[in-house]
Symmetry: C2
Subunit: 194 residues, 2 copies
């Protein structure tokens, strides 16, 4: 089975047919991958954090959980997950993230810019890129205050999460570009379709 590598701080997009499964692999450990999907027949239908978290009644989706679209259709089922801690709250990192949070003077385009470039050939406008399912991202919540802290991912080398497509999809996937999310080093992400 072919494994494709996404180089550090980059992204890609591809089609995933209904019934196919996508395995997102963290080959070195502690590396986040932002995942977004769109209905291949109608890209106005997209992954929805709000609907998925609501219907699951929990923040941390893992094996057996369903990911819904903004039309309340199931887009992906999580069928295997060796980590169990991913984020579905925060926007893909972007020039704005680096400007607002990191105060960078010459910000990298981030996952958002990488997704924008990769998804443009499929007709997805940048305004339509939603909150991503951030594989391996470890956001810790202080219960009383709701303060969010981005900690090192819990993933170790070779950990993975496998999603099966419940409709024909356009997928956007990155090797995340934000220092804090990846324990301060940028590593590749691998994926496999079967």
């Amino acid at each position: 089975m072919t494994v494709t590598t996404i180089p550090p701080r980059s992204g890609t997009a591809f089609r995933l047919a209904k019934g196919e499964c996508l395995t997102v692999i963290d080959p070195q450990g502690e590396q986040v991958a932002d995942l977004v999907v769109f209905n291949a027949q109608d890209i106005r239908e997209a992954i929805s954090s709000g609907r998925s978290l609501d219907y699951a009644s929990k923040l941390y989706l893992t094996t057996g959980d369903l990911i819904y679209s903004n039309r309340s259709n199931v887009v992906l089922t999580i069928v295997e997950d060796t980590v169990g801690r991913h984020d579905f709250l925060l926007t893909p990192c972007s020039r704005d993230t680096f400007r607002i949070i990191y105060h960078d003077e010459h910000p990298h385009q981030g996952c958002f810019g990488n997704l924008e470039a990769a998804l443009a050939p499929y007709g997805v406008a940048s305004d339509a890129i939603p909150v991503a399912f951030n594989c391996f991202m470890n956001v810790v919540i202080a219960p009383a205050t709701g303060a969010l802290t981005v900690e090192a991912p819990l993933s170790r080398a070779g950990d993975y999460v496998k999603f099966c497509a419940e409709m024909d999809l356009i997928v956007g996937l990155t090797a995340c570009s934000a220092l804090q999310s990846n324990n301060y080093s940028f590593k590749p992400i691998e994926y496999r379709i079967d």
Copy 2:
């Protein structure tokens, strides 16, 4: 100053000019109001939970906090808040919510249907209705598991939250239609613009 009432289980939409402020009032207590906003000059720019939570690095936005758009512009500033507990995670309740979570055979159209109807005259398509800022909604998170529980709002009669517009906006606002979110009774919401 004119106070407008949104009847139980309904919604409305209106323009809010840059510099104007919107006060959302819970006249009887324990009633949620879902709020969405769009740039009046370009409705592809909309309120973004993912960017707002990311830039604030916390879940519970309150007085002094900023609400961002999907283009990372500030759309609203929260200038007063007598409650301090609102939700910015979950999708507006909808026919799908009532079908999937409540197993209703004849589901109400919910906040989503009410927003859809109210925003249609402004050209907002239903697919473009994002995660709302759910005023007074009290979602409790179990820190270890991430389990989400919708509890009774902490708002008492007369509590309010005041937002000021940082750009010309189209606003969608509801008196929420979900039993659990409103401690099992449907009440009106009031609002004032000044």
